[in-house]
Amino acid sequence: MPREPGRGGALVRRLTDPLGTLLVVAVLAGLWEGYKAFGRAVDDRILGIGLPVATDDLSMPHLWTIVGSLTAPARAGDTTSLAVYLVGETTVTLREALYGLAAGSLLGLALAVLFLHVTPVSKGLMPWLVASQTVPLVAIAPMIVIWGGKAGLPPWVAVTGIAAYLAFFPVTINSLRGLKSPPKVQLDFMRSVGAGRARVLWSLRFPAALPYVFAGLRLAATASVVGAIVGELSAGTGRGIGRAILTSAYYYSNGPEKLYAAVLVAAIAGILFVQVLALLERFALRHRHAR
C-alpha cells in the first residue's frame, strides 16, 4: 500500500526548487570568495606549492566588482552601460540561435518522419548521421562562415546556419524515438478503424511524440546557443555576445571584470533561452501525466 504524495506536494516543490537552486548558487559564490580570501591570506601558496589558480584581482575579481562593472560605462567616454551593451549583443546572438533552432528543428522533424517511413534510408543514413555527431561540428564553422561570405550573405545567416546544424540532430533522434513510441495496441486500433498512414501520423504518432520532441528541443536550444556563439567567433566582423567575449578577452588586463561580466551574461542568456522553451513545454503538455 504505497503512500500517495499529497496534492500540495507539487506546489511545495515548485516553491522550494528555485530556493534550493538559489542556495546552491549562493554556496558556489561563497566558494569563489572564500577561495580568493584564502589565497590572499596565504599569498597563493600552501606548503610551498602554488595554488592552481592565482587569486589576485586580475585572475579572480571580486563578485561585486564583476556585477558592479555592469553599471559602469561599456567604454571610456561612452554613455551606455556595460549591461545595456552586453544585453544588446546577447539579443543579436539569441536571435541567431532562435532562427537556427527553428530551422534545425524543422529539418530534424522532417528527417525523423522520413526515417520512420523509409526504412532503407534510415538504415543506411542513420549510422552516418550518428557518426557525424562525433565530428566536432564547430570545426566546420569557419568554413560555413566563408561560404556565406562568398555567397554575399550577411554574417548572421552563416551563424544561424551553424546554430541550425548543431540543433537538428537531437531533434531528429528524439522525434524518431517518440514517433516510434506508440504501443502496438494503439497502432492496431488505428488500423482497425481504417486509418491511413497520414492519419496515424497525425492523430497518433505526433501527439505521442510530443514529450520526446520537447526533450530534443531542450537539448537543441542549448546546442544552438553554443553554435551561435562559436559562429560569431569564426565570423570576422559582426556583432553578438561571442564577439563581445572575444573583445573583452583581448582587453583582459584593462578590465578583467568585463570578461567575467560578458561570460555571466552569456550564461544567464543561455539558461533563460532554454527555460522559456521549458515553460512552453509545460504549457503544451499540461494535460499529460507528469512523467
Binding site: L137, A139, I146, L246, I271
Partner: protein
Amino acid sequence: MSTLRLSRPAGGPALKARALRFTPVALTAVILLSLWQAAITLFDVPVFIMPTPVMIAEAFQHDFGTIMSASRSTVEPVLLGLVMGSLGGVAVALVVSRFPRLSGPVLNTAVLINCAPIVALAPIFNNWFGVTSLLSKAGVAAVMVFFPVFVNTTRGLLQIAPLHLEIMESLAAGPRQVAFLLRLPNALPFVFNALKLGTTLAVIGVIVSEYFGGSTEALGVYIAYQAALPRFDYAWAGILVSGAIGLGLFGAVTLLERILMPWHDSLHEEKS
C-alpha cells in the same frame, strides 16, 4: 508469451547478420561519396565552394606531417580534459548522492548551468593557466564533460528500482553493500551514456578554446587558417581528421562499455 533467448548465436549466423546490417551503411557511404565526386566534376563547382573527395585525400597526403602534429597537440588536452571531467563528475556524484536532501537542488543547478554555453569559459581559463598551457584547453573540455557525467551518474546512483532496494533490505544488507552491489552497477550504464556524449564535448571544447589563442600548431587553428586562405581541400582534410578523433574516442568508450557491461550489449542490438 515466453520468448526464450538462449545462448548467444554462434559465429557463423552472427557474422552473416552483421554483414547484412552493415551493407546498407557501406552502400550509403559509397553512393554519397560518388555522388559528391560526380556532382562537383559535372557541374564544375569551384574548389573554394566544395572540393572533391579525391582532392581532400590529396591534400591530406600532402600536408600529412603538419596535420598529424596539429592533431597531436589537440588530442592531448582532449584526453586530459575527458579524464579530468569524468573523474571529477563521478567523484562529485558519489559525494552528493550520499546526501539525498542535497542532491535535488545541486542536480537542478547543474542542469541549469549545463544550459549555459560553457565554451565561453575559454578566455578565462587562458588567463588562469596561461594561453599556451595544456591545462587551459583541457580545463574547458573538463568542465564541459563534468556536467553530463555528474548529472547522469548521480541519477544512476539514486534512481534505483524500489523492488531492488527492497530485496537488499530483506537480505539485511548494509549501506556499503547496497552501494557496491546495487548502486554502482546500476549507475554504470548512466555513466557510459554520459561518457559517450563527453567524447564529443571534449573535442568541441578544445577546438573552440583554440580559437581563443594559444599554440598555432593545433587542429582548430589549422582548419580556421586553411579555410581563411582559402584552401578548402586542406581545411576539409583537417575537419575529417577531427571527425576521426571524435569517432575514435567514441569507439573506445563503446568498446570499454561492452567489456565492462557484458549484460548490456543485448540492449544495444535491440534498440538499433
